[in-house]
């Protein structure tokens, strides 16, 4: 892993900014208490952060780097989600239910994060009203994104999904191997190549 130095202050400033975009009225002293409870961690490329069947109560914030979330169905890896900078990542289903986790989380690049235990996060939500609001907004934002992904797969054509991907994640086209993008879009690598040469 090539050493890229990203200071703790830099990471926390990035998280602070991201959370203020989600809930601009968060009380700043309370937000600082939350942000300062996060600790740094670094993972090399190809690192399996969490695997199917594991339980994890960590919440991660990606400061730099990239992960794919995939599941295995009928011996095939299906790419479910791509997590990049300024996004939060948690094994949400396992966290909420205590049931088995279906998803694998693997880094696609060297990845620099902040992390916190969900129980620590919750204790701060309960301590401060403005953080509890922030907590609800975070869940709403990720819930809406999950629903949107499901609806896009249901209602849009491969071509529409590709255009949407290029529009919202242009930066990922050169960072994520095409086979993973194809899998994420629910199309074959051949269809993806055809769409790439067309657009």
């Amino acid at each position: 892993m090539t050493k890229v130095k990203i200071s703790l202050e830099e990471r926390r400033a990035r998280l602070r900014e991201c959370l203020l975009r989600i809930a601009p009225a968060t009380h700043l002293s309370e937000l600082d208490e939350l942000v300062n409870a996060f600790e740094p961690a670094d993972f090399p490329k190809k690192y399996l952060l969490l695997k199917e069947g594991d339980f994890s109560d960590n919440v991660y914030f990606i400061c730099k780097g990239l992960l794919r979330n995939y599941y295995i169905k009928g011996n095939k890896e299906i790419n479910h989600w791509i997590t990049k900078e300024d996004m939060l990542l948690a094994a949400a289903y396992t966290l909420a239910t205590g049931n088995k986790n279906f998803i694998n989380y693997e880094t696609l690049e060297d990845t620099y994060v902040l992390k916190i235990k969900y129980t620590t996060l919750e204790s701060l939500y309960v301590k401060y009203h403005s953080l509890e609001y922030l907590g609800r907004r975070i869940v709403e934002v990720y819930y809406a994104a999950f629903m949107k992904m499901t609806f896009d797969i249901l209602f849009l054509s491969a071509e529409e999904r590709y255009s949407l991907f290029v529009k919202t994640h242009a930066d990922l086209l050169n960072r994520v191997p095409l086979k993973y993008i194809a899998s994420y879009l629910g199309i074959s690598p051949e269809t993806l190549s055809r769409l790439r040469s067309k657009h």
């Binding site: 169905k73 909420a96 939500y125 009203h129 999950f146």
Partner: protein
């Protein structure tokens, strides 16, 4: 229809629903919130929300049943069946302000308690205890949505059928089989085979 409608009793059921999610919710704040729910009655087959519309309210089913479905390639696909004492919400539309993807239909004569989401959020801001309840409600719906998605991805038709009869045994006799088959993502023939087996 001469049935007595007892709104206070329905509000009591709703209160129990909330307290079941967060038992320590501040009772005064909760009672104040409950006062703002209004009663609505939908005839069988009447649409509560149409796909393409914007939702602004949360509903609690007092009596009856709601079917949530979308239309794909001219076919209706049932994605949820919501019975009594459950909350139903056009979550995607409420959170994003964009249009609903699904239709919400009263599948039987249905009584609902309704609250505008902006009013609900004003109570979340007023009382930390209700904000906490609100966060856990959203987590609950998110989890249910993930579970439905993962069940379809990872479980066999037979496992999904078993979960359905465990969670919704009363619906087997209330909902025509073709809707249950659609909900489970299986053909009616597969459903008949599973029913004969269990």
């Amino acid at each position: 229809m001469n049935q007595q409608i007892n709104i206070d009793e329905y509000k009591n059921h709703l209160k129990k629903y909330f307290l079941n999610v967060v038992p320590e919710t501040n009772p005064d704040a909760l009672n104040e919130l409950l006062e703002h729910f209004t009663f609505e009655r939908f005839a069988k087959k009447q649409l509560i929300y149409a796909a393409g519309s914007i939702s602004d309210s949360l509903y609690f089913v007092c009596k009856g049943l709601i079917r949530v479905y979308y239309i794909k390639e001219d076919k209706e696909i049932t994605n949820l069946l919501v019975p009594e004492n459950t909350i139903v919400i056009g979550a995607y539309s409420i959170i994003t302000g964009e249009k609903n993807y699904s239709n919400y239909e009263a599948f039987e004569e249905t009584y609902l308690l309704k609250l505008n989401y902006a009013v609900l959020e004003s109570f979340y801001s007023k009382y930390h205890s209700l904000e906490h309840l609100g966060r856990l409600l959203v987590e609950k719906y998110y989890t249910a949505f993930m579970k439905k998605t993962y069940d379809v991805l990872f479980l066999s038709a037979e496992e999904r059928y078993q979960i359905f009869i465990k969670d919704h045994s009363e619906l087997i006799n209330r909902v025509p089989l073709r809707f249950i088959a659609s909900y489970l993502g299986i053909t009616q023939e597969t459903l008949s085979r599973l029913r004969a087996k269990y």
